[in-house]
Symmetry: C2
DNA sequence: TTCTCAAGGTTGAAGATTCAACATATGACC
DNA sequence: GGTCATATGTTGAATCTTCAACCTTGAGAA
C-alpha cells in the first residue's frame, strides 16, 4: 500500500534492516516500523494541508484561525486569555499574537487587557467572528467526517485518538 | 485525558451534541468523535513541531530537509528528479525548489538538467550531504523511537499506519 | 518545419512564522 | 516604598512558504 518506498529512512543501512519484526529498541527501524512511521509522516504533512485548503477555499480561514475562533465561541463570555488560547491551539504566543492581529483587522475579534490583572490580554470573539465561524462550520465538519471520522470505524477512531494522546504525552514529558 | 476541552469545535452547538455515540454521518460530531478528532489535530500540530525542533537543535535541518536527503541517499545514483522528490516528500515543487537551493548553497546537494530529457531536473546528493545525513540519523531515529515507535505496541503502530493510509487515500481521491 | 500545447521547474513578491529583543504588570522581598 | 524577578504579550527582522507569472523543453499536429 505504501507508495513512497520505505528504504529511505535511516540512510545507507537498508541491508542491515532485516531484524525481527517487532523487537523494540534497536538502533534503526525495521522495515515494518519504517512503513508505519512514513505513513504517519505523510499524514502529518498532508492532512493539515488538506484541511487548510478546504477552509481557505470555502471560508478564507486557516485551520489555526478556525480553531481559535471555535475555542473562543465556546468559552465563557466568548473570551479567552491569549496565553490560554495559545496553549489550546498548540501555537506559540508570538504566532498567535500576529494571527489575532489579522483577525482583529478583519473585525472577527478584539483584544483588551484583562481588567482584573493587566498582565493578561483577553481575546474576545465579536459577532462578525461568530457569524464567520457559523458559516464555515458545516462544510468544515463535513470534510472532517469524510476524511477521518466516517472513514474509520468507531473503534479505530477511538484508538487513533488514544495513540495520539500517548504520543503527545511523550512530547510533553520532560525529555528522556 | 483531553486537556483542551472538546466543546469548542462545531461552534455554538454543544447542547445538541448528545446523539448516539457511534452513529455515522450526523451533521456535527458527537462528543467522543470530537475528542478523537481534537487529539488528532493536536498530534498533527505538535509532532511535526517536536521532530523539527529535535532536528534543528541537533543537526540544523528541518524535517523536510532530512526527508529529502534521506530519499536521495537511497535512490539509485543518489539522484532523483525534482518532481519525484516533491511527490515523495509531500511538498510543492516551488517549496522544494527553494529548499534545494538552500541545500545546494550548503554543499549538500547539486542540481543538473536531466541529460536524457532536458525538461527534468535531477537533484544529486553530494558526499557532504551524505555525511550530514549519517551524522544526523542516530539521534533522529532514537527520537522517533522514543516518541512513536517504541511508545506503541507493534500492533497499534501497525494499525496507526493503516489508519493513516486510509485517510491519505481519501485525501488523494477525486473529491466527494 | 513550424506552431501550439502540456509538463517540469524556477523566480520574485506577498504573506506567514520564527526568533530574539523588548515592554509592561504584578508579586515578593528587603 | 523601592527593587528585583517572573510571566505575559508585542514587535520587527529574518526566514520560510505560497502564489502567480514566467521560462524552457520536448511532443504532436498541421
Amino acid at each position: 500500500m505504501s507508495s513512497a518506498r520505505g528504504d529511505c529512512y535511516p540512510p545507507g543501512m537498508t541491508t542491515e534492516n532485516d531484524a525481527p519484526a517487532d523487537e523494540h529498541g534497536g538502533p534503526w527501524l525495521t522495515s515494518g516500523e519504517l512503513d508505519s512511521w512514513l505513513s504517519v509522516v505523510r499524514l502529518m504533512t498532508r492532512l493539515p494541508w488538506a484541511i487548510d485548503a478546504q477552509l481557505q477555499r470555502d471560508a478564507d480561514l486557516s485551520m489555526v484561525e478556525y480553531m481559535a475562533l471555535a475555542m473562543l465561541s465556546e468559552a465563557a463570555g466568548r473570551t479567552l486569555r491569549m496565553s490560554t488560547l495559545a496553549e489550546n491551539t498548540s501555537t506559540s504566543l508570538s504566532r498567535l499574537s500576529h494571527m489575532v492581529k489579522r483577525l482583529e483587522s478583519r473585525g472577527y475579534v478584539r483584544r483588551e487587557p484583562d481588567p482584573a490583572d493587566g498582565r493578561f490580554t483577553n481575546a474576545i470573539l465579536l459577532p462578525a467572528g461568530m457569524a464567520k465561524l457559523e458559516s464555515a462550520a458545516p462544510a468544515h465538519v463535513a470534510f472532517v467526517r469524510r476524511l477521518v471520522v466516517d472513514n474509520l470505524s468507531g473503534e479505530r477512531l477511538r484508538r487513533l485518538g488514544q495513540d495520539a494522546e500517548r504520543i503527545l504525552g511523550r512530547i510533553d514529558s520532560p525529555a528522556r
